[in-house]
Amino acid sequence: MSDLLYSETEDELRSAVRSLLTDRCEAAQVIARAETDQPHDHDLWKTLAADMGLAGLLIPESLGGQGATHREVAVVLEELGRFVAPVPYLTSAVIATETLLGCGSAAADELLTALASGRSIGVLALPLSTAPSSSYAEVAEADGKLTGRVGAVADATAADVLLVSTASGLYAVDTTADGVRITPQTPLDLTRPLATVTLESAPGRLVGADASAAVRRGLTAGAALLASEQLGLADWCLTETVAYLKTRKQFNRSVGSFQSLKHRLAELWLETVHARAAARNAADALAAGSDEAPLAAALAQAYCAPVAVHAAEEALQLHGGIGMTWEHPIHLYLKRAKSDSIALGAAGAHQGTVAELVDLQAP
């Protein structure tokens, strides 16, 4: 049975990340940054990734990483979700990193070393909506030159290197190379910027022969750990709403004393209790290299994605009018939660995976 608790080390890591984000990732700043031409917080990323060494948690020490596990990464993601932090952690330190770890080549190791230091940001050039189980369009490759177009690539504008899946393998493409065009899109979730990547005979380096296996590994880890981001996000929504309803007065009483609202918050609390068990189970299964990791990932994503959306929607409704304003941060959480519910496969895709893995066959 998996270990579903948090270790002392994990608690310490959480405190460190939370205290950094409390200082450096205030909601008002995140809202203000969202509409600038620098939607990513590069200074915050540098502190997290390089100074605290969190970009290399999954990377072995021999490649300059921390040699930690998915359990610690999950704790970092809970906190990043709690602050809707605009940093490319999920994309670079989880999905791209895990994809490269699945390649097992010298070229991949070289890239991993760069990612571990936090000086380089890597992004898998697939639409953010791609599920571990889904098929996707591959980019054409000829003599090491790549040509194709991929939309809704998360954090591409912040990336130094793109990982591109082709029929002949996984290629790395520097974003500064000739023939690479990255065009920002207008995302629903302003804290996780999206872009269209256009490659026209862009030069690529082969980093893995079996692109689909490596990509599946990257996306499975991404889906499993996204659940922790969703948990952190849901937890913020619950905590913030409970605190608000204790102070908000209407009809000469605290709004939080109305039973209809209390029941909604109690239900939401219960959902976060379950989400925590599902997210911890997924992180632990990945860390242990368990055969059940794909099931744990699908289970966590199928459960936690709707919980995060529900939490943000309840937070908005229960805050009343203030929740509808641009000034209040709830909209950041709603937009992140909704876009997370599509990211790495919608709940339906993960339900399908669960059904297959536990032998509940469709008609």
Partner: protein, 393 residues
């Protein structure tokens, strides 16, 4: 302090002195109780050794390996889980000495006379009256939802001793003799056709004051101990995957492809996921308890299990189609042990309706979570300072 090694040694000594193969069940249980190996966290002389509760597992493992008889805990759950901790916490030395041994050995079955037709969620509003008469109390009233009343020798009972006080303050806690001629037990038939529970009519039942637990007027406080122990008992379950209500429907789905439709598939998979996540939550709760950090999560688990049991069994009836139109047997029966997952889908569907009512309705549990876990304010109350006799009813 008694440690695991010492307990294992004492258990092996008990087994050597009273080999299960050649000792009667009664004698073995008596010897086990006297050796302090019945419930090791109880005091010496009352079936225990004042050892940590977690060490009971050491004793149980030794006994199980040796094939020793047990006290059939499922048959005497109310005695073990609710009456005993209350007697231990509030009983006099004479009461503990008199009641705990026969209770633990299963020689005397216990039941609980708490709920009334007019006092369900608002248990403190109960109206069964106890009036002092010399050294006795004369008790008159009606209790309901009493499991095992027809087998019980004793009952834990709460009754109103002062109607002029606000409801929580005028209650006293008693041990009631179920063989008193004023006690009438009638089966209460449920929607499943069977009668797990009883109605109990109390007419001038005489209870000696020596059978009062706690002070006069302290009954509500004493009852909290009973009810808290009920919740602890519910929290400790450990299930394998598909161990609960989701098991039978998943098996049917796999065995009978002809029943499958797209709509049913979507709903089943969604419920399977929720059931598995609920199971993991239960496991997480257990790990917290083992690590010595019990969280508030336990308060919510019953809510989830009630909802899932109802939704899953409802889907199962629908999945079965023509067979879902049938029911195995409406014959009135009085089961000794209730298995929510037993019998057929129709039974499961009907029985699980009780899961969101028994042991605290889901609505009351949501209030408890909101107030005690989330710290939200309670609703304005109009009953706190009003004499019980003046409450609306």
């Amino acid at each position: 302090m008694t440690d695991a090694t010492e307990l294992a040694t004492r258990t092996r000594e008990l087994l050597a002195a009273y080999p299960p193969a050649t000792t009667s069940r009664e004698d073995f249980l008596k010897a086990r109780f006297d050796a302090g190996l019945a419930w090791v966290h109880y005091p010496e002389g009352l079936g225990g050794l004042a050892a940590p509760r977690s060490l009971q597992a050491v004793v149980d493992a030794e006994l199980e390996a040796a094939g020793a008889p047990d006290n059939d805990p499922r048959r005497i759950g109310i005695g073990l889980g609710m009456a005993a901790p209350t007697v231990l916490a509030f009983g006099t030395d004479e009461q503990k000495e008199r009641f705990l041994g026969p209770l633990w050995r299963g020689e005397e079955v216990w039941c609980q006379l708490f709920s009334e037709p007019g006092a369900g969620s608002d248990l403190a509003a109960l109206g069964t009256r106890a009036v002092r008469d010399g050294d006795d109390w004369i008790v008159t009233g009606q209790k309901v939802w009493t499991s095992n009343a027809h087998n019980a020798r004793w009952a834990i009972l709460i009754a109103r001793t002062d109607p002029d006080l606000p409801k929580h303050r005028g209650i006293t806690y008693f041990v009631c003799d179920m063989t008193d001629p004023g006690v009438e037990v009638r089966p209460l038939r449920q929607i499943t056709g069977e009668a797990e529970f009883n109605e109990v009519f109390l007419t001038d039942v005489r209870i000696p004051d020596a059978h009062r637990l706690g002070e006069v007027g302290d009954g509500w406080k004493v009852a909290q101990t009973t009810l808290m122990n009920e919740r602890v008992a519910i929290g400790g379950m450990r299930l394998p995957r598909e161990g609960g209500m989701i098991g039978p429907i998943s098996a049917t789905w796999r065995e009978r492809p002809e029943l499958r439709t797209r709509d049913l598939h979507q709903r089943l998979v969604k419920l399977w996921i929720e059931a598995e996540v609920a199971r993991l939550s239960g496991e997480r709760l257990r790990q917290q308890l083992v690590a010595g950090h019990p969280g508030p999560e336990g308060s919510g688990m019953k809510l989830t299990f009630a909802r899932l049991n109802q939704e899953i069994s409802g889907l199962e009836v629908e999945l079965l189609g023509d067979e879902g139109l049938l029911y195995d047997d409406w014959t009135m029966r009085r089961p000794d042990i209730v298995d929510f997952v037993g019998r057929d889908a129709g039974y499961r569907y009907l029985r699980s309706k009780g899961n969101s009512i028994e042991g605290g309705t889901s609505e009351v549990l949501l209030n408890i979570v909101a107030e005690r876990v989330l710290g939200l304010p309670s609703e304005p109350r109009t009953d706190k300072d009003v004499a019980w006799k003046d409450l609306a009813r």
